[in-house]
């Protein structure tokens, strides 16, 4: 990944589709197309200018092809890399490579899901796995639950500390008018909610909603002439570790420990340079692992770190200011919305939840069962 140039491209347009529970018979591609036009409107570019299409969706096997047909565009470059929720961070890296090499000029990354409307089982059917499926794990929750159990065993992390992640997310969500959840949440409520896969209750788990999003990237040179402040791509790092949880080498160490340093190296930055983090919070254990693996607190200290209030509004390290997958929205592969919040923070568009002087934001995507980890660092104009 060191072949890419810091700041050579920028996100210039970013938008969500409608989120929550959409009208009956809405398709995932309807949501992608809606978000695409909103993202184009955000930057002032036209549909006909898109010449690179990057997409992945569990309900659309050939996402770049299907979306291109819907929009009647004929991109010269396309990429359907599908590695779960972090697919879109990978698309940012691949779009950067394509733009740098002149393979496309205006790249669209889009996602959509109707998993709330059609049910999770229908939106993301399980693949056959004769070595896991007989045991009926509730996937993906059970995989993350085992990682949490292991972290609790090795480091003394508690269910209360995990619950603090959900509580912090909810506090941020109450500052975001687009968030699904509208009521306050306490640690006690998290612990007393319906148990899903021990040690997780339903409040340790991400939301199941419909939704999607789109971002537009182009070269840094072109970005300067567009409507909004560019969010430059300062660094990217991608890593694959395993596919099934049985094959994860150490359940307490994610491949964010690989993707993070790659992104920081490319950007020439370190964790203390980051003003806010957008971390894929599929479950309460994930931000905790990523804070450790990305270098924001020592390994094993994540529980104590989040319990100190560090990641909540008013804390020293703002994390998931949108409210995250736990309280804002989680339409299946949520990574694109992780990116959108980081972009908005760098642009200063976050109103009540805006992080002051947010010049560098980190967007970290997670896919599968802690399987794929991809990190993107975005910076405002002062950083390039």
């Amino acid at each position: 990944m060191s072949g890419l140039k810091r700041g050579s491209v920028a996100v210039v347009g970013a938008a969500e589709s409608d989120l929550g529970q959409v009208a009956p018979h809405t398709s995932p591609v309807d949501l992608m197309a809606q978000a695409t036009m909103r993202a184009l409107d955000d930057c002032g570019l036209k549909l006909s200018e898109i010449d690179g299409v990057f997409s992945a969706a569990t309900q659309v096997r050939t996402a770049p092809m299907t979306l291109s047909e819907y929009l009647r565009i004929k991109p010269g470059y396309f990429d359907g890399t599908t590695i779960g929720g972090s697919s879109f961070m990978t698309h940012v890296a691949h779009a950067q490579a394509a733009i740098e090499h002149g393979l496309c000029e205006v790249a669209l990354i889009a996602y959509g899901s109707t998993q709330r409307s059609v049910s999770r089982a229908a939106a993301s059917p399980r693949e056959p796995n004769p070595y896991e499926n007989p045991y009926r794990p509730f996937m993906p929750a059970s995989a993350y639950a085992m990682a949490a159990a292991r972290h609790m065993h090795q480091y003394g992390t508690t269910r209360e500390q995990l619950a603090e992640v959900a509580v912090a997310a909810r506090k941020w969500a109450l500052l975001n008018p687009k968030a699904w959840e509208k009521e306050p949440l306490t640690v006690e409520q998290v612990l007393k909610s319906r148990m899903v896969s021990y040690p997780f209750t339903v409040r340790d788990c991400c939301l199941v909603v419909d939704g999607g999003g789109a971002v537009i990237l182009t070269s840094a040179a072109r970005a300067k002439s567009l409507k909004k402040k560019p969010a430059y791509v300062l660094g990217v790092g991608e890593s694959l570790s395993h596919a099934s949880i049985s094959s994860m080498p150490d359940l307490t160490v994610s491949a964010a420990a690989v993707s993070g340093p790659k992104a920081f190296k490319m950007a020439g930055l370190k964790p203390s340079d980051i003003n806010m983090l957008s971390l894929y919070d599929a479950f309460t254990i994930t931000p905790l692992l990523f804070l450790e693996d990305l270098g924001f607190c020592p390994k094993g200290e994540g529980g104590r770190f989040v319990a100190s209030g560090a990641i909540a509004p008013g804390g020293k390290l703002p994390v998931n200011t949108s409210g995250g997958g736990l309280s804002y929205c989680h339409p299946g592969m949520y990574g694109l919305l992780v990116i959108i919040e980081a972009v908005r923070q760098v642009r200063g568009e976050c109103d009540k939840r805006q992080v002051k002087n947010c010049e560098v934001a980190l967007a970290h995507g997670n896919g599968g069962v802690l399987s794929s980890q991809c990190t993107v660092l975005f910076g405002g104009p002062s950083t390039v």
Binding site: P130, Y131, E132, P134, Y135, R136, P137, F138, S142, A145, M146, A147, A149, R150, H153, R194, M195, V196, S197, Y198, P199, S244, I245, S246, S247, L251
Partner: protein, 129 residues
């Protein structure tokens, strides 16, 4: 050499299960055990693979309890088998929440049913922590 016209890795594994055996593979070049069964050894790509039968003892590496609407809660665990490989399984004959990391366990075959062929589960072996 594998011959997928004749047999598959899972097919061989399942044949062992039917005999009450937990089978795994070893890379003959470096002696390393691996699981799940494959046609080539991971990392090296070697096709010099030997099937072995485990003694069936292991230690719980990670554990959870799944709560479903219509059925009693059940355990799901990752087991570090003594021969040096990890697999997903279930620890039975104990309260699912009583399955603890570090617990010693011993394999037994679950008979399965018309949809699910026989598969290995574990029971407490005593010892461990």
């Amino acid at each position: 050499m594998s011959d997928l016209m004749k047999q598959s890795p899972y097919g061989v594994f399942l044949d062992h299960c039917k005999k009450g055996e937990l089978a795994y593979q070893v890379n003959a070049d470096d002696g390393k055990a691996f699981f799940y069964p494959r046609v080539v050894a991971p990392v090296t790509g070697s096709e010099k693979i030997e099937w072995r039968v485990s003694k069936g003892l292991g230690t719980v590496y990670a554990t959870t309890v799944v709560y479903t609407k219509d059925q009693p809660p059940h355990n799901v665990a990752l087991i570090d088998v003594d021969e040096g490989f990890r697999m997903m399984s279930r620890v039975e004959e104990v309260d699912p929440l009583g399955v603890k990391i570090g617990m010693r366990v011993k394999v037994k075959m679950h008979p399965g049913d018309e949809k699910q062929p026989t598969y290995p589960v574990f029971t407490p072996a005593g010892g461990g922590k």
